[in-house]
Symmetry: C2
Subunit: 328 residues, 2 copies
């Protein structure tokens, strides 16, 4: 059984994993800790481009001290050798830790259980914990591996009455500088971002990351259209088929109202991130057009608030898609 302290170390490793995102792509963003007697001897996260892996980085930091230690990894250590180095399960077995505690099994068929088996064959005690922080830190990877599409965030900057612009189209600005900076950080963590064809034509948005030091984090730019797209953009024809986006793990929909509606209609939105400005527009342009809702009861049981806080004068509201199996 994993102890509460084991769970805390896994949560800490998941926090570290956040540093790997998004530059670890196309590899998952993993975090690892080497711990002995409650002292951290090594910390690692997946490096840019995917190598070294988190476990290799943490082991390199710990050196011989890893022997007899506990090793926490957010994802099952890989079982496949690569031209770029040995598998993590072999590396870990060689380090002879007391235990390896894993936050989430790896659905990648090259590993899926084989990493655990290899460690156990080498006489290492392995525990797999169903760790919510690890799962959350891997949500893009898990979505891609299990459903063949990225994890989709729909970002909306809305007035209190749900508008993204005045009726005449005036839309700058709905939200304040704090919310806009937050949205840029969010963008910098995506692999891909998408706008609708109309938004691309009308606004010609740059959609790059303009935060100092993060300029190189600008995601791939996609547009939802059946037609031609300008240089520097890629095209998605159908929000019901997101496979063209693979290997992207994280996609954010940046507007407009029709693109948002198209993804909601396809039930391909996993998270709503709403920046709610303290303004009333009144009769403005709605942030979401028709999503094909059949009746009002069908709208319920789909979204649950997971976070909210103030960003300057605006409120940030985050909602998660309730898995069908949990919906009331």
């Amino acid at each position: 059984m994993a102890s509460p302290q084991d769970r805390r170390w896994l949560a800490a490793a998941a926090r570290l994993a956040g540093r790997a995102r998004p530059l670890s792509r196309p590899n998952p963003a993993v975090g690892a800790l080497v711990v002995k007697d409650d002292i951290v001897l090594g910390r690692g996260w997946t490096a840019a481009g995917g190598r070294p892996h988190a476990e290799a980085a943490a082991l390199a930091q710990a050196g011989d001290a890893a022997r007899g230690a506990d090793i926490y990894a957010t994802l099952e250590p890989c079982a496949h050798d690569s031209a770029r180095g040995p598998s993590c399960s072999d590396l870990l077995a060689k380090a002879r830790p007391a235990r390896v505690i894993i936050g989430c099994g790896d659905p990648d068929p090259r590993t899926n259980g084989k990493g655990i088996a290899r460690l156990q064959d080498a006489g290492v005690e392995v525990m797999v914990v169903d760790c919510p922080s690890s799962h959350r830190s891997l949500e893009g990877f898990l979505m891609r591996e299990t459903r063949g599409r990225p994890f989709v965030t729909l970002k909306l900057a809305l007035s209190l009455d749900g508008c993204i612009a005045m009726a005449n189209g005036e839309s700058q600005w709905i939200t304040g500088p704090e919310a806009r900076a937050h949205a840029h950080v969010l963008r910098s963590r995506q692999d891909a971002i998408l706008v609708g064809g109309g938004t691309l034509r009308d606004d010609n948005p740059t959609l790059n990351v303009r935060l100092p030091g993060l300029e190189d984090r600008s995601p791939e730019r996609w547009v939802l259209t059946g037609g031609d797209v300008p240089d520097g953009w890629r095209k998605l024809a159908d929000p019901a088929d997101l496979s063209p986006l693979v290997p992207a793990q994280y996609l954010m929909i940046e507007g407009g109202a029709s693109a948002a509606a198209a993804f909601l209609r396809a039930d391909h939105v996993d998270r709503l991130v709403i920046y709610r400005a303290p303004i009333v527009i009144g009769g403005g342009r709605p942030g979401i057009t028709d999503i094909g809702l059949g009746s009002l009861p069908d709208a319920h049981g789909r979204w649950a608030r997971s976070d909210s806080r103030m960003l300057g004068k605006d409120a940030l509201e985050i909602y998660e898609r309730i898995p069908c199996s949990l919906a009331s």
Copy 2:
């Protein structure tokens, strides 16, 4: 100078004042405490119909012990005798307290400073504290006395995308039972409620209070229309002129989208109470139609969030109109 403890007692008196609302009407809902050596000797709030006043009730409870005590009152004690009893300032002077601490001056010309003067003439020390809790507990009274209209709350039950119904009009239910019960409590504290003519025709709402034990708290029902109104309803022709509502201290706008917009356009909304359901409707009926906004910057600096909390699965968001003098 008022001490922090004085301010705490005033806040407690303001809390008591809440019990007077709405049945004290047309009188203000006042709270009073008699305190000696940090022990409460008397508590009072304005009775149904307005008499006895809060101070009289608190003094009656304290009896002779009020001599030398501190008396906290949220509003300046009245200076006018009435067929229903002597003025509170005379009653207080006779009780010979050490001090009377007042949370808010009374703008009613029959009292306005005269209550304080009468106490001081009788040798009682008087302190007037600018107490935010007292002011807030009297916001309807102060609005009526200083601006000749009630304090106006606009209540909205909205989807995440700002809709009050599907495009086909289906609107039951947007919010859950907790939010609807909260709205009934809010309604029970109003003197008047109003709907637009279209809402009255289409929905024929009862708009009464259906909470057990509060059935007698149903407010006066008003409809915004230039035409005829059914029995049991009163009519307001112009949201720019709310004087027909006086002596009501508190008015709540209950819908629909056009009535909400009309009051916002007239700048006659003091508070927004938004019940935000965790649902997306998409292309539904907006909660607020055109408010005559000239440009987007004009929408800013008007509303500030004062409270938010969860009510079941819904979020309650409360916004206050920022006084023009404070707007950035």
